[in-house]
């Protein structure tokens, strides 16, 4: 089943409330996906600084922090639950290879704007563990997972990020992901798990690296990705949603002058300010909708 949510703020006055709003959206979608949860928060990018969201599981974070600080001189480390966010001005190629040299660390995502957190457990607990309500930012994506085709692990949790400042959440299942995984790997896209959604995320990364826009890439995806899906995808510039042509997987959008909220069900957004005055619609099958700069 799975629940997916997205929130794009048009009015800056709500930036400080982004985490609070998303907490409510994720909590209300916990019935659709009680196995694991995750979210991506985009905030204003800081020039020449990159943030790396890393899961350290249950390893000794003090030691990891000490060692990383030796290798990355300007490293700033913020620990939240079993994740930490490493901020540095060092080039991504270098930092990623350093992170990979630690076999007890998983890089969840990186970029100049994005921070990603995901964990196994009921979404209500997961958002609490990460103190989601305290986050501020410009837009965000969340996912509550009912596991179907791959294991209940952090690796199997959404959002998936396979490129700088990119992420994807998915409600549905893909049927041609094994074939696509092979094709994308040949093109140099790194896919870590056996999960179908990560392949779709890789497909988007490949499109974006070929200088296509998110919207164009998702339109191409309607031809290449076979299966059931409602996708919400984010970049540092904004959000997009697309449903497959059969459109079995639900989605509803509420747009006001202040924000655009997307969710699997209306009840996820019932707590948002003035939602009863919003323009509410269901995205049409096979059409890509996007919001952003």
């Amino acid at each position: 089943m799975c629940g997916i949510v997205g929130l794009y703020l048009k009015n800056k006055k709500y930036n400080k409330d982004l985490g609070k709003f998303l907490t409510g959206m994720m909590n209300n979608m916990s019935t659709r996906g009680p196995d694991s949860a995750g979210f991506a928060i985009y905030s204003t990018e800081r020039k020449k600084k990159y943030k790396y969201s890393i899961c350290y599981n249950k390893n000794n974070i003090k030691e990891i922090k000490k060692n990383l600080s030796k290798e990355i001189k300007d490293a700033k480390i913020k620990i939240i639950s079993d994740h930490f966010v490493l901020e540095t001005s060092l080039k991504p190629v270098k930092v990623i290879s350093i992170i990979k040299s630690y076999n007890n660390l998983n890089l969840v995502g990186y970029g100049s704007s994005i921070e990603i957190f995901k964990q196994v457990g009921n979404p209500r607990d997961v958002v609490n563990n990460f103190s989601l309500k305290n986050f501020s930012g410009t837009h965000a994506i969340g996912h509550t997972r009912m596991a179907t085709e791959s294991a209940i692990t952090t690796d199997g949790s959404h959002p998936y990020s396979t490129g700088e400042d990119e992420c994807l959440v998915h409600n549905g299942s893909l049927s041609n992901h094994n074939n696509l995984r092979r094709t994308l790997k040949k093109k140099g896209i790194e896919i870590k798990s056996q999960n179908d959604t990560e392949v779709a995320a890789g497909y988007i990364s490949n499109g974006l690296s070929n200088k296509k826009s998110l919207k164009e890439t998702l339109i191409d995806g309607l031809k290449d990705l076979d299966g059931f899906y409602t996708f919400i995808s984010g970049t540092k510039n904004g959000l997009a949603i697309v449903r497959d042509e059969i459109a079995c997987k639900p989605a509803v959008v509420a747009e006001t002058k202040d924000y655009v909220a997307i969710a699997s069900e209306f009840q996820a957004m019932a707590h948002l300010p003035n939602v009863n005055k919003a323009k509410i619609f269901e995205p049409e099958p096979g059409l890509v909708y996007s919001w952003g700069k």
Binding site: A247, F266, Q267, I280, P285
Partner: protein, 228 residues
């Protein structure tokens, strides 16, 4: 008028109250506030009563309805009035997919649009949509009437049996075994009565076209026509 607040009372409590109405009670008018997209509001009602829901509702609103008249001042999610037997459901906003699915009787009126599969496998319900309907509407529709004042998405009336579709706009495409029919006096009278139910100007009548089954896909036997 009895006011029920879903912010204070649980959904189960509200539904139980409406489902087990005291037969001698004269208080048969209810208003539900703060529905907040909850599912299955007013499902399984079986007595005559008026219920108005103020706001947007989730899935299966007024499902399996018998005799009750339910009005929603908002949008509804998947499967509004699914398997309705009698009574009426009036949605003032839009409806999601599978509106009126498998319903045996009663009337469903949607003032806005519905998304895909409106009236899927309908078995006798009258559905009147003042806006447009999505793809695969009236899929395998067996009996009853679907009136569409706007347009329809792809594959309208796919594998349709003996339900009738009246449409003012255009279907994007027709499904297998669905074809345009000539309207006779009886059909026109039927459409007139359906438009009246939804307070639509009956002068609009002439703008509608009728679609139904070509009867090539299923084993139709004229001797059984009275069964439909």
């Amino acid at each position: 008028m009895i006011k029920l607040n879903l912010k204070k009372d649980s959904l189960r409590k509200v539904n139980e109250l409406l489902q087990n109405l005291d037969q001698k009670s004269n208080d048969r008018s209810f208003k539900i506030i703060n529905p907040d997209g909850n599912h299955a509001i007013c499902a399984g009602l079986k007595d005559e009563m008026d219920v108005t829901i103020e706001g947007h509702v989730g899935y299966y609103c007024a499902g399996m309805n018998m005799k009750a008249d339910v009005t929603v001042n908002g949008n509804v999610g998947t499967g509004v009035a699914e398997n309705m037997m009698s009574g009426s459901v009036h949605v003032k906003g839009n409806a999601s997919q599978s509106a009126g699915a498998t319903a045996h009787g009663g009337t469903l009126i949607v003032d806005g649009d519905t998304s895909s599969r409106c009236g899927i496998s309908m078995k006798g319900i009258d559905i009147i949509v003042k806006g447009s309907v999505g793809h695969m509407s009236a899929f395998m529709a067996q009996s009853g009437n679907l009136v569409i004042c706007g347009d329809a998405g792809d594959a309208l009336g796919d594998s349709i049996y003996e339900a009738k579709i009246f449409i003012k706009g255009e279907p994007k495409s027709l499904g297998a075994d669905c074809e345009k029919k000539n309207m006779n006096k009886k059909d026109q009278d039927l459409l007139k009565s359906l438009l009246k139910k939804a307070s639509i100007d009956e002068n609009q009548l002439t703008h509608f076209k009728m679609y139904g089954s070509a009867r090539k896909l299923y084993n139709f036997n004229i001797d059984n026509v009275s069964e439909y």
